[in-house]
Amino acid sequence: MSWYYPKGWTDRQDDVEQVLIHYAATPPGQWPDWSWGHETRVLQDLGGYPRQRLKVLRMPRGVRDLESGRSAPEYRFHYYFEVFQGGHRWTTDLFTEDIVYRDLEYTDENGWITHICIYWAVGDWVAPVYSPMEDPRIPPDSEFQAKNYYTYQDKERFHHEKYQMLYGLDLPHRFHSRMWGPRGATLVQQYHVGRMFPPEEKNETWLGPDGTSAPGGGNCWYHHL
């Protein structure tokens, strides 16, 4: 599973032909070896004047540190643009950002919720991410972990079993999930909460600080990383 980070470019002259972004992730405090390998994407030409270009990058939820053998959930993101313009190419400076995470906890005092996700994005709603939340008392190897919901064939069974598992836990239920972004950026965030069992009580909604909401838009929490 990944999260998504939009990177844009605005043409400063009319003769820009293509713009590529070169990028790599390293553990904290390290620099990439560009000769060893990195990722490259072509930005999509969105048109307009001045011409806008965009690529939504698929970002990892951690970077493995080859020295320690462990995965670091916070890491450095290095990138530069390669610009093909007027028959020649040039590159921008190298930019480095610290990718950090923010853990969220949603407290369900009365046990109404059986399913909950966070709906969040870096900066604005260009590239939202939908991340399931889970009460850490649900065993990690349970087939009824929230992350298994989407591919679970018998959804009604999942609804029933998950309801029973949560019902057996003391209140309040505390659901957890994680968001990422570059340090200094702002994340926008809402909750999608649902009660999927019993069938006659099925209900779900999107929540922002002002109450129920459509997904996206201004009724959201802002997190400054």
């Binding site: 293509q18 490259t40 698929r58 093909f84 028959g87 020649h88 190419r89 997904p215």
Partner: protein, 174 residues
């Protein structure tokens, strides 16, 4: 300088809301060798852009188990006004085809290929390789039967130019 090899290609998938009131559509996708069922444990997930015509770009590996031909599996998770549904799983054969630039005059030192599915542009790049003088070859990928539009990135010395056939590109059916 030709960009380095890329491990994935972008493939846009589109969803049309069949009814009003759909709040969100999320796609789940994974790849497997041809004939092998999907392993959803490592699947990617992406939220489609807001509707009623929604889309997202899948990042599809260029090879699976060393092969350029494999299966792409995906389904949609749809949150409606009062319910949630999951689409059937769609399995599509991914194939690669070779495109060629014949540099008859020997004018270029390197050639790249810029390409995209014709109906739903997402730019991808392949660096050309040459096994005989002045003939540059590269691979383009997509769903079998689809059409890919491509152009050339022509490099010589410090100069370069992009040839997209006057905006029309060239096409190949996979």
């Amino acid at each position: 300088m030709v960009p380095p090899p890329v491990s994935v290609f972008g493939l846009r998938k589109t969803w049309i809301d069949p009814v009003p009131g759909i709040a969100m559509v999320q796609a789940h996708y994974t790849c497997s060798p041809t004939g092998v069922p999907p392993d959803w444990a490592g699947a990617e997930q992406v939220v489609l852009s807001p509707g009623p015509s929604r889309s997202a770009v899948f990042e599809v590996p260029r090879t699976v188990d060393g092969s350029t031909e494999f299966s792409l599996h995906h389904f949609f998770f749809v949150v409606g006004e009062h319910d949630r549904t999951t689409s059937p799983v769609f399995t599509e054969p991914i194939v690669a085809r070779e495109v060629v630039f014949d540099d008859a005059t020997g004018a270029y030192s390197s050639v790249g290929f810029i390409w995209s599915e014709a109906d739903s542009p997402v730019p991808n790049y392949t660096s050309g390789v040459t096994d005989v003088p002045h003939v540059f070859r590269g691979l383009v990928w997509g769903v079998r039967g689809s059409t890919v539009r491509y152009g050339f990135h022509l490099l010589v010395g410090d100069g370069e130019r992009w040839d997209d056939n006057g905006g029309h590109g060239w096409t190949i059916t996979l």
